[in-house]
């Protein structure tokens, strides 16, 4: 399983990627939306884990840009806010929202559920 982690919090996303690797999940890292789009062009990811609040392109905006390019790509949103303003796009209810600080075991479980279901 190959996933893409996008968050402007560099240390957080780096650590997360390293820990995923330890657990046998290949995770690429992007610090901005633009970088994420670039990476998605060369690699096929099953799931994108996006921070909602990012300078420039926000997580929700990024999803809008990525989903037309990659039909099978699934999304998990991560946010520091307790409550999240959900995207009003069709199919948004399928999106999964997780709040920070993030439990890695729970994230992996969610990822597995998502990929198996699809």
């Amino acid at each position: 399983m190959k996933i893409l982690l996008v968050d402007d919090e560099e240390k957080f996303v780096n650590m997360l990627a390293k820990r995923m690797a330890l657990r046998g999940i290949e995770a690429d890292v992007a610090y901005t939306g633009e970088e994420a789009i670039k990476k998605s062009e060369s690699t096929i990811y099953e799931v994108a884990v996006l921070d909602i609040k990012m300078p420039g392109i926000s997580g929700l905006q990024l999803k809008k840009k990525l989903s037309p390019l990659h039909a099978n790509l699934k999304f998990i949103f991560v946010t520091g806010h307790g409550a999240v303003e959900k995207s009003e796009d069709p199919g948004a209810e399928k999106d999964i929202y997780l709040s920070k600080p993030l439990d890695i075991e729970f994230l992996i479980e969610t990822l597995e559920d998502l990929t198996q279901a699809g």
Binding site: E9, K11, F12, M15, L16, K18, R19, L22, K53, M54, P55, G56, S58, T79, G80, H81, G82, A83, S99, K100, P101, L102, D103, I104
Partner: protein, 586 residues
């Protein structure tokens, strides 16, 4: 016992009379001076209610006066005419009787004293009031006499009445005393003797009968009927002018047969007088009939009615004023209570809005803290992984690097919590010296990340030399939070928010919070400071933010104004004193 009065006054004293001005919540009262409002209310109501009443009363009095006047004149004229007819008839009757006597009897029979006495007796029976009869020859010698006074042989040639009698067919004299010392009137008729010369039959009338006739026309206590001669000398007694032969000023120049009515003043009394000459072609008398009516007396009925009416009007006015006062008191009190309740609600709202603004901040703060927490969580988790997954090398340098990154994240959390504490602490502090730049950056710190995410350019421009403010920092902070929050809600990605402060003079500074956001439609500009006005009703807005901000600004003795163009941006300008005035502590 004496305490009852103030206690009673206190009990009926309306609530608003005890309203004390209080900088704390005055800003939220719609009206400031309830007593003024009360007086104004009573005044306007009283003028509105009473002026028609006054007008009606005045008109009524004028109408009554005019109609009573004309009525009185009319009645006086009528009475004068009636009395005149009676007096004229009285004279004519006696004159005719004498004429008849002269024609019927002739000179020879009349000079017979026995026959003359007989005639006098018959005249007395028929008409009454005839005292004596006498026959005079052309030289004024009395040739025959019948009556109680022994005046036989007297010569009247030089008497004025005799001189006048011989000139005319008949003659009626003024009232005079003559030889007898009793007021009487002479009626004389001239007739021809068979030899061509003439003789005169003279009768003396006592005035008693005439006075009785006159007084029978007197109606009420205020009417006076009497006769005067052309020189204004009383011919009968008058209630007003006194006894007979008293001279008066009642002299009328024209010899008209018409009855005339006029108003004259007698001893300060207003009197309606009617007069008429008793004079016809056939009979000429020297009399003028006078009818006097005291206006006040005749008006008594109207006066009584008027005073009753005035009492009723007076009582009505008192009742109206009492009702108006009660109504005004009631209304103003209601208004006051509603206003007071509103002001109190606004005070509570101000506090809860303060809490709400903290809540709003809390969400931002949580996000700010959650990010470093997530870093700590993942870094610590990874370090644990290093120990859990046996095949991992444990490089000391790498571990130290991770620990440092955890410490960094903890520092970040620390900064945020310190900011929050510093911010919250402001809520308790009253008046103190503050650095505006610091306060602004404190408020903005909570929006820092938001500005980054939404690419909003936030600038603060404060000159290097800027006075230290002495004010209620919690209120100023709340004002800033509200206005900055508003600005952040108004702007979109790429817009900017500028906060500019500059001293206007040594005592005042100007603070402008400008955004290039959506702007406020012109029709809303006037309403934005009204409580519960919100354009985000369907969303989170309570409509209190700006109304409370305006209230706070007012409380601090600041002035706030807003300029906005839809689609261009909005500027809130606050003029604030460097030093807050004492007594503005709330």
């Amino acid at each position: 016992m004496l305490k009852i009065v103030p206690d009673f006054l206190k009990a009926i004293r309306p609530e608003f009379h005890n309203h004390k001005k209080n900088a704390h919540n005055d800003a939220y009262y719609t009206f400031t001076d309830y007593r003024d409002l009360w007086f104004m209310g009573i005044f306007i109501l009283a003028v509105t209610a009473l002026s028609p009443l006054f007008m009606a009363t005045l008109t009524y009095h004028q109408l009554i006066e005019t109609s009573v006047d004309s009525d009185l004149n009319h009645r006086t004229k009528q009475l004068t005419e009636t009395a005149k007819s009676a007096v004229t008839f009285f004279m004519e009757e006696r004159l005719n009787a004498l004429t008849f006597t002269v024609n019927e009897n002739g000179y020879d029979q009349l000079t017979d004293n026995i026959r003359l006495t007989e005639i006098l007796k018959n005249l007395k029976l028929g008409f009454g009031g005839v005292t004596d009869l006498s026959v005079l020859d052309a030289d004024g010698n009395q040739v025959a006499y019948a009556g109680p006074f022994n005046l036989e042989g007297k010569n009247y040639k030089n008497q004025p009445w005799f001189e006048q009698s011989i000139k005319k067919m008949n003659f009626i004299s003024e009232v005079f005393t003559g030889y007898r010392g009793v007021p009487h009137i002479i009626v004389a008729v001239r007739s021809a003797k068979p030899d061509g010369s003439f003789f005169i039959l003279r009768a003396t009338l006592d005035t008693e009968r005439l006075m009785k006739t006159l007084s029978s026309y007197k109606t009420g206590n205020y009417a006076d009927i009497f006769l005067v001669n052309r020189e204004g000398i009383l011919q009968t007694p008058s209630m007003h002018y006194g006894a007979i032969f008293t001279p008066t000023n009642l002299i009328f120049p024209t010899n008209s047969d018409e009855t005339e009515v006029s108003t004259l003043t007698f001893k300060g009394m207003s009197i309606i007088s009617g007069h008429s000459f008793i004079s016809r072609d056939m009979v000429t008398t020297p009399f003028i009939l006078m009818v006097l009516k005291e206006k006040a007396g005749m008006l008594q009925f109207w006066m009584d009615m008027r005073s009753k009416f005035n009492w009723i009007i007076g009582a009505s006015i008192i009742i109206i004023v009492i009702v108006i006062t009660f109504a005004a008191t009631f209304m103003v009190n209601r208004l006051y209570r509603a206003d007071k309740a509103k002001a109190e609600t606004m005070m509570q709202m101000e506090q809860s809005q303060q809490l709400a603004s903290i809540g709003q901040l809390a969400a931002g703060v949580a996000h700010e803290i959650n990010n470093p927490l997530a870093v700590i969580n993942q870094t610590a988790g990874y370090m644990k992984d290093l120990f859990s997954f046996k095949d991992q090398t444990q490089n000391t340098d790498e571990l130290i690097e991770y620990i440092d990154s955890i410490l960094d994240a903890v520092d970040r959390c620390g900064i945020i919590t310190r900011q929050l504490l510093g911010f919250v602490r402001q809520f308790d502090v009253k008046i103190k010296k503050i650095n505006l730049e610091k306060l602004i950056s404190q408020v903005l710190s909570f929006h820092k990340k938001e500005a980054e995410y939404r690419r909003i350019n936030v600038t603060v421009a404060i000159p290097d030399i800027f006075p230290e403010l002495e004010t209620d920092s919690s209120k100023l902070q709340q004002i800033l939070v509200n206005l900055v929050n508003n600005a952040f809600q108004a702007v979109e990605e790429g817009n900017s928010i500028d906060i500019i402060a500059r001293p206007l003079d040594t005592n005042t500074i100007e603070l402008v919070i400008h955004d290039t956001g959506c702007g406020i439609p012109e029709e809303n500009l006037k309403k934005i400071h009204e409580p519960f006005f919100s354009t985000k009703k369907d969303r989170s807005g309570t409509g209190l933010g700006l109304s409370i901000t305006y209230g706070l600004v007012k409380k601090l003795g600041y002035r706030i104004s807003v300029q906005s163009t839809e689609g261009v941006g909005t500027s809130f300008t606050i003029i604030l004193p460097v030093k807050i005035k004492k007594g503005r502590i709330a």
